[in-house]
């Protein structure tokens, strides 16, 4: 049981303004990162972030302390954003929109420079946005939040084999994109 987290969230649930502010401050970066990976193509990233945080505040009464407050917020954020994406028909925009990778980073796990890591993350957010919603959700839960395949299946109410399949196909797509130059010429090298 995560006692410190439970105390904080319980205070937030009672309406303690200081606890609520502390909770939002603590989760803002994580929630926003999740939103960016799930919906970087949306013009409403900040709106989705705010709505996710409002959902988190509204759900404080349901927190049981069985996981960290971050993991608990991850689930709420993913659920909220996927609902908003479906509602706003982002999938249609995905088919029609332009999806250039903003920067062309080096794809190496050895990169430590914060600016280059930041470029990698932005580029990956753009590439993830190319994936269909279900695959994107599975990839974010697996590789951004570190869920197991079984946990993803439970969270998305899908069969384990379906999740495996979504991950496999998504990674195959990512492999292709990662080996492509985004602009087809200028950065061939």
């Amino acid at each position: 049981v995560h006692e410190g987290d439970s105390t904080l969230v319980a205070a937030a649930a009672r309406g303690d303004e200081q606890a609520r502010r502390e909770l939002v401050n603590r989760l803002l970066g994580r929630v926003r990162s999740t939103v960016m990976y799930l919906a970087s193509r949306s013009p409403d990233v900040d709106d989705m972030t705010q709505r996710s945080l409002i959902e988190v505040l509204g759900a404080c009464g349901t927190y049981r302390g069985e996981s960290t407050v971050e993991a608990w917020a991850d689930r709420i954020t993913t659920r909220t954003v996927m609902r908003l994406i479906k509602r706003s028909r982002l999938s249609e925009a995905r088919e029609q929109g332009v999806d250039e990778v903003p920067e062309y980073p080096e794809w190496s796990r050895d990169i430590q420079n914060p600016a280059e890591v930041s470029d990698q993350r932005r580029a990956m957010a753009t590439l993830l946005a190319r994936l269909p919603e279900e695959r994107r959700e599975a990839m974010v839960l697996k590789h951004v939040h570190g869920y197991s395949v079984e946990e993803i299946a439970a969270a998305t109410q899908t069969k384990v084999n379906t999740v495996r399949d979504r991950l496999r196909v998504a990674r195959a797509e990512l492999r292709t994109w990662l080996n492509e130059a985004p602009d087809g010429g200028d950065r061939e090298t």
């Binding site: 303004e17 502010r21 939002v24 803002l28 970066g29 994580r30 926003r32 990162s33 960016m36 990976y37 013009p43 990233v45 900040d46 709106d47 972030t49 705010q50 945080l53 409002i54 505040l57 509204g58 971050e70 991850d74 706003s88 903003p102 920067e103 794809w107 190496s108 796990r109 050895d110 990169i111 420079n113 600016a115 890591v117 930041s118 990698q120 993350r121 932005r122 990956m124 957010a125 590439l127 697996k142 590789h143 951004v144 939040h145 570190g146 395949v149 495996r164 991950l167 496999r168 990674r171 195959a172 990512l174 492999r175 990662l178 080996n179 492509e180 130059a181 010429g185 061939e188 090298t189």
Partner: protein, 538 residues
């Protein structure tokens, strides 16, 4: 995907190797498979680890605003949930709207007909008897919101960021004010407008326009009921963009997008996109093409669209400069700090037009006041943008030629300086630090790394491919079996490409492919080679 790669992925999906043989396989496979290494690197970058959760950080101001907005909205939501069912004020009108549905649908048609026919009065809808309206309990008071000044163009005592409470009379005098309410509804008041926000409640905004011109934009699907009352009637928004001009004699309404509902003299008319209505005048009128085009332009404007971290996309059709930094005329992505920036663009005759852009995190910011075109001789002209090596441009002010304490600094300290400068996209600063390493620590290993890094900077960021190529050549010559030779050769290939020396580029690619056929870049280089290579004769 190769079977070995799939096996490796299956191990990842299972949460790690189950036994020693699987662990050995994973290690060996990763070492020998560049594709899996790349994928692993990319996926590792996005993993949210404890303490490293802010992958897309906001600046302090944006962060504070977001936290405040969340807490405020959550509080309002809580208050609403604690209230008894809160009937929408539209409910009282439901019966009247239903009764007049046929007339409402026919309203645009009638308006169209008015272009060719004799003056026709606007369709009337009988108001529903009050006794039929459902009895409603007055809602408990909800905390009012504030309108925020986002943009000031012209001379005005107000500045961006000022918050305005409901009931405060606003006179724009000589300035144009841009205001947002609930972060979604956008109101632009032209000089000479007099208005008051009568109500600033969540999803319910009411404005009294006594005189002057307002442009209003409310996005669809936000559930915001916005209404503007003028001396001649009431205009209700149904998710749209429109402008209102109120004078003593009449109020003129022009609709750019969507539909608005107008109530005047006990009548309701729905006005669709492309139409106008003069309240207080003898008959409805249509919008001229030029008026509509002007309205659409003023509402759409050139937008700086932020993603919440200061990165902006600018769709510039003409020469554009921000804070005296020339950006050329092509669409660009750039980095600017939050706050007000001066924007200059050249008009069709090459005269600079000055304006102000308020850049607000995560929200679109509007460049306005494009009509001020007077260029004084002493005003600085926008700089010639020149060629750009990268689509990303940082216009964060960088101190000119800051002092560099090279004499006492170690190679490590200078490398850190270079890294820091790169993080801030201060390419000249990074180049100075690398040059200092090469100059003052010539015999160190850091000097070799700095030489290559400087070469890469010159090729990729500073537009000096010749010098960059020479630095890479020196690196290769001094370190023929160095760990970064492949990187240096790649940099040379890029230099040739920048210089347009395609024959040399082709030779360098051939050389690279023969030495490192399995390198991660090999596939792309092969494609580039195919592009460069002339087709063989039949």
């Amino acid at each position: 995907v190769k079977p070995e790669c799939e096996r490796y992925e299956a191990i990842v999906d299972a949460g790690g190797p189950a036994d020693q043989s699987a662990a050995d396989f994973a290690t060996t496979h990763l070492a020998g498979c560049p594709e899996c290494r790349v994928l692993e690197g990319a996926l590792a970058a996005v993993a949210l680890r404890a303490g490293d959760a802010d992958h897309f950080p906001l600046d302090e101001l944006a962060r504070r605003r977001t936290v405040d907005a969340v807490l405020r909205e959550a509080r309002e939501l809580q208050v609403e949930q604690q209230q008894p069912t809160r009937p929408r004020r539209w409910a009282t009108l439901a019966l009247a709207v239903a009764a007049g549905l046929a007339l409402i649908i026919g309203a645009p048609l009638l308006l169209r007909q008015s272009q060719t026919q004799a003056p026709t009065p606007a369709p009337a809808i009988a108001s529903a008897p009050k006794s039929d309206a459902p009895k409603v309990t007055p809602p408990a008071p909800v905390a009012p919101m504030l309108a925020q000044v986002r943009l000031v163009a012209g001379r005005d005592e107000r500045s961006p960021g000022l918050e305005i409470a409901e009931g405060t009379p606003i006179q724009t005098r000589a300035a144009t004010l841009g205001l947002t309410v609930t972060d979604h509804a956008w109101v632009r008041a032209l000089p000479g407008a007099e208005f008051t926000f009568l109500s600033l409640r969540r999803n319910e905004i009411s404005i009294e326009l006594r005189s002057g011109h307002l442009d209003v934009q409310v996005p669809r699907g936000r559930g915001i009921d916005l209404q503007v009352r003028t001396p001649h009637g009431l205009v209700k928004v149904i998710g749209t963009a429109f402008s209102l001009n109120a004078t003593r004699a009449k109020t003129r309404l022009a609709v750019a997008e969507g539909t608005v509902l107008v109530e005047a003299g006990g009548r309701q008319v729905r006005v669709s996109s492309g139409f106008a209505l003069a309240l207080g005048a003898a008959r409805p009128s249509t919008v001229s093409k030029s008026e509509l085009a002007s309205l659409k332009e003023s509402l759409a404007q050139e937008k700086l669209v932020g993603d919440g971290s200061g990165r902006l996309s600018v769709t510039a059709g003409r020469q554009l400069s921000i804070d005296s930094v020339g950006l050329g005329s092509a669409p660009v992505k750039l980095m600017v700090s939050m706050g007000a920036h001066s924007v200059t663009r050249l008009d069709g005759r090459g005269r600079p037009q000055r304006s102000t852009a308020e850049v607000v995190s995560g929200r679109e910011s509007v460049v306005s006041d494009r009509t001020k075109t007077v260029a004084r001789a002493d005003e600085p002209q926008p700089a010639d943008p020149g060629p750009r090596a990268s689509p990303s441009i940082s216009i964060t002010p960088v101190p000119v030629d800051p002092p560099l304490q090279t004499a006492t600094e170690s190679a490590e300290q200078l490398l850190q300086q270079a890294q820091k400068a790169r993080t801030q996209r201060d390419w000249p600063g990074a180049a100075r630090a690398y040059s200092a390493i090469i100059e003052h620590h010539e015999m160190s290993a850091a000097a070799e790394v700095a030489r290559l890094s400087l070469g890469q900077l010159k090729v990729d960021q500073l537009g000096e491919p010749n010098q960059g190529h020479a630095l890479c050549a020196t690196y290769i010559e001094r370190n023929p079996s160095g760990a970064l030779v492949a990187e240096a050769e790649l940099c040379q290939i890029r230099a040739f490409a920048s210089l347009g020396e395609h024959a040399n580029e082709l030779r360098a690619i051939d050389s690279f492919l023969s030495r490192w056929p399995t390198d991660f870049n090999a596939a792309r280089l092969a494609r580039r080679k195919a592009v460069l290579q002339p087709p063989s004769p039949q």
